[in-house]
């Protein structure tokens, strides 16, 4: 085999630990009480449409995304709205959430729940985008950017490629892997819908070669679809980053500060492709997603198809209980995921996995002096100098940090991962990014 494609520069190879790779997706029953945050996407929160005491059904629209970058929220359960209150969500803060007491499992009519595969796409390009917006689809890779916005190509630009991200470069997570194995046909139909929505005739599904079964399965199926190709990639983190994936597959560099459309490419996750299939062909809004629940001390690492709004404690229960020595709960993968502050945090659209660490695994290595080895620079996929950016942020030299392009950082964490002195480089860079962001916004106001 020829040399596998991957991105340049930088990247690291953390231990994969895909503990749940062989566990088929289990369907989880609706929870007793669902907590559905109204802000599950990147961008503006949705506006609630229901009130305390309202009866809702599964799939009913309960909050509407009014802003341009915003998305609809649907009820994932049937029952009565208990209250709209502030509940801890994965952000670590309490934010407005619709709390529903679950009664039965009554679905809105018109949703096709059968497993029959519908291939024929009847909607036009415009209708597809409209429907994706209506069904509240967001990027399921983790960032939860509203998907319909990505399909609307700005004036004067055109798209040439649709890239489907099946990389799943985060250690531990297996939800996309399982989805590709079990719902391959649906993903391919979803991909062709996205192609139609975007108006392109070429789509490439990028999969890292640590998932040979998924590559074989999808390549076999893809022969029946025009314009869809499967591209095996060399294993390297953070290949799932949008810019890195584009570089790896079609060898184009998204210019600094610009969107992928600048190089005529659009990236969607395989999970999103599946959700798009369900939305368009089955009329089903985004009310459930595949969540990997894993951890070395968990006796049964699993992949669940869970309703949005299910408290993560339900997931642990199903995965045979929260281990005694749990020290950290991470929403997402170990490289980019967020530490959660409560076991009652709900599953949201962007939750690709829940990872449990023991206290030992959770504790960081002691911080020592920087020995200026330059490893962080070598592994930075954006070609930045993390050591310099972290220092500038630590000393509050934010204007200097801006000049050193701190805003280009994609927060992949490779620098901190690789630092022999255990310095929290990304923590400081993130601080610098938020401060520089403020400075830039203030400048815009003036």
């Amino acid at each position: 085999m020829s040399i596998l494609k991957t991105f340049k520069p930088g990247g690291v190879n953390p231990a994969e630990n895909k503990l749940s790779a062989n566990r088929p997706i289990e369907i989880l029953n609706p929870p007793g009480q669902a907590f559905i945050p109204i802000n599950q996407n990147l961008g503006a929160p949705a506006i609630p449409l229901v009130q305390k005491g309202d009866e809702v059904k599964v799939g009913q629209l309960i909050a509407r995304g009014e802003a341009f970058i915003s998305s609809n929220v649907h009820s994932s359960v049937s029952g009565k709205v208990l209250k709209i209150d502030n509940v801890v969500d994965p952000s670590g803060y309490k934010r407005p959430t619709i709390v529903i007491n679950v009664e039965g499992d009554e679905w809105v009519p018109g949703i096709d729940r059968s497993s029959e595969i519908k291939k024929l796409v009847t909607l036009s390009q415009k209708e597809i985008i409209e429907k994706i917006k209506e069904m509240g689809i967001v990027g399921l890779g983790g960032a939860a950017f509203p998907s319909h916005v990505k399909l609307m190509v700005p004036d004067g630009k055109k798209a040439e490629f649709l890239l489907i991200n099946g990389v799943e470069c985060e250690p531990f997570l297996t939800s996309d892997h399982r989805l590709m194995l079990e719902k391959g046909e649906e993903i391919l139909i979803g991909t062709s819908i996205l192609m139609k929505g975007l108006g392109v005739d070429k789509a490439i599904i990028g999969i890292e070669n640590n998932k040979p079964d998924a590559i074989d399965h999808l390549s076999g199926l893809a022969e029946n679809y025009d314009g869809i190709k499967v591209q095996p990639l060399k294993v390297k983190y953070p290949q799932g980053g949008e810019k890195q994936l584009i570089k790896a597959i079609i060898n184009r560099e998204v210019p600094s500060g610009k969107l992928p459309i600048e190089v005529e490419a659009v990236v969607h996750n395989v999970g999103t492709a599946y959700a798009v299939y369900e939305a368009i062909q089955k009329n089903k809004p985004l009310i459930e997603r595949v969540v990997t629940v894993t951890g070395r001390y968990l006796s049964k690492p699993s992949n669940f198809l869970a309703r949005i709004g299910t408290p993560i404690s339900d997931l642990f229960e199903k995965a045979s209980g929260l281990p005694e020595n749990t020290g950290k709960i991470i929403g997402g993968g170990p490289m980019m995921g967020k530490a959660l502050i409560s076991t009652e945090t709900p599953v949201v659209k962007g939750t690709s996995g829940i990872l449990l660490f023991s206290e030992e695994e959770a504790s960081r290595v002691p911080v020592k002096n920087c020995i200026r080895c330059g490893r962080c620079i070598k592994v930075c996929p954006m070609g930045l100098e993390p050591v310099l950016l972290a220092q500038l942020s630590e000393r509050e030299m934010y204007t200097q940090a801006e000049l050193e392009n701190v805003m280009d950082c994609i927060e992949c964490g490779s620098c901190h991962y690789t630092c022999p002195s255990g310095r929290p480089l990304l923590d400081y860079i993130r601080l610098g990014k938020s401060k520089v962001g403020q400075i830039i916004r203030n400048r815009g106001k003036k």
């Binding site: 502030n86 801890v88 670590g92 309490k94 502050i341 960081r364 929290p424 923590d427 400081y428 601080l431």
Partner: protein, 314 residues
């Protein structure tokens, strides 16, 4: 030999004279005409360069003062928080103007979420800066508005006026505070406020900035403001406003009557440096009385710890 000596002396002197003439001419050409008053005003400023006045340094502040005096015949709106009215009086004298007496201010930390009042529920592992922790999560005690206890305010203070109290994990302000406002800027949660220092250092303020409803607020912290509005009712000077479940005492209107302190059910309103008083026997239920007792004790505690701190520092 003598010739060499003579020659070098003459040539060196000639070079020196020529250079000095050139320097003089250049100095004349690029001379910056500056009001001599700026230097005089800068003399009386404290030279702390703290930026509390809103200018990058004392020199810039002196320039602004002189400019304003020349243009508008007034230096209203300018204040040196470090030097206070004394320095501003001197400045006014130099500039031939009169200045209003300004009441001295002090930084006040409006959070009482100590470990005892708000137990630790999460442990934070990362760089010790509030700014980062604030972006990450709601805080070790769960309160999304309260003090994070990582001391960004302490780092920015140039006057040794604010320190973390290891017992409460909250910052304490001591007498050295000149109200430059650096800590106010640094606090990502807007907990610190500049308020009137008050006669004999007597101050009354709501020591909480939690905008949550009563229930959730109390769940995280025993001494949170629950927005019950009792203090608003009892205040005779319209000094207290209630917004977003949070009471706020306007220090310009407050007459330090202490009525609000005794009605606060959670002890969120603090009085500082007042003479102690006997707790009145109230007709209300026992629970309330107990609560009140707790609050008085709490208030005294803060008072005494602050006194201790000051003694230690001085």
């Amino acid at each position: 030999m003598n010739d060499i000596l003579l020659f070098s002396v003459i040539s060196l002197s000639a070079i020196g004279v020529a250079a000095s003439v050139i320097l003089f001419l250049i100095a004349q050409k690029f001379k910056v005409i500056e009001d001599p008053k700026i230097d005089v005003v800068e003399e009386v400023l404290p030279a702390a360069n703290c930026g509390g006045c809103g200018y990058p340094g004392c020199r810039n502040f002196a320039e602004a003062l002189v400019n304003s005096a020349n243009k508008n015949k007034s230096i209203e709106g300018f204040n040196c928080p470090v030097g206070g009215s004394e320095v501003m009086g001197k400045v006014a004298e130099i500039l031939g103007l009169e200045v209003e007496e300004q009441e001295p201010l002090i930084a006040v930390v409006r959070c009482n979420g100590s470990r005892a009042n708000a137990s630790q529920k999460i442990s934070y592992d990362g760089p010790a800066t509030c700014a980062f922790a604030h972006n990450l999560f709601s805080g070790e005690n769960g309160c999304p508005y309260g003090c994070l206890g990582l001391g960004d305010c302490v780092v920015v203070c140039q006057f040794d006026a604010i320190y973390m109290n290891p017992e409460t994990a909250l910052p304490d302000v001591n007498d050295k505070c000149v109200a430059c406002g650096a800590c106010v800027e640094a606090c990502p949660r807007d907990i610190i406020e500049l308020r009137y220092k008050g006669k004999k250092d007597r101050r009354i303020f709501v020591s909480c900035v939690n905008k949550e409803k009563g229930g959730p607020a109390r769940k995280n912290c025993k001494v949170a403001c629950i927005g019950c509005g009792k203090c608003v009712e009892v205040c005779t000077f319209d000094a207290i406003t209630l917004e977003n479940n949070l009471a706020y005492i306007d220090y310009e209107k407050c007459k330090l009557c202490r009525k609000c302190v005794s009605v606060c059910p959670t002890g969120a309103i603090h009085e500082l440096n007042f003479p102690s008083r006997k707790p009145k026997v109230e007709k209300t239920g026992e629970g309330d009385a107990a609560l009140k007792k707790e609050k008085v004790i709490a208030a005294k505690k803060t008072e005494s710890t602050k006194d201790n701190q000051q003694e230690l520092k001085s």
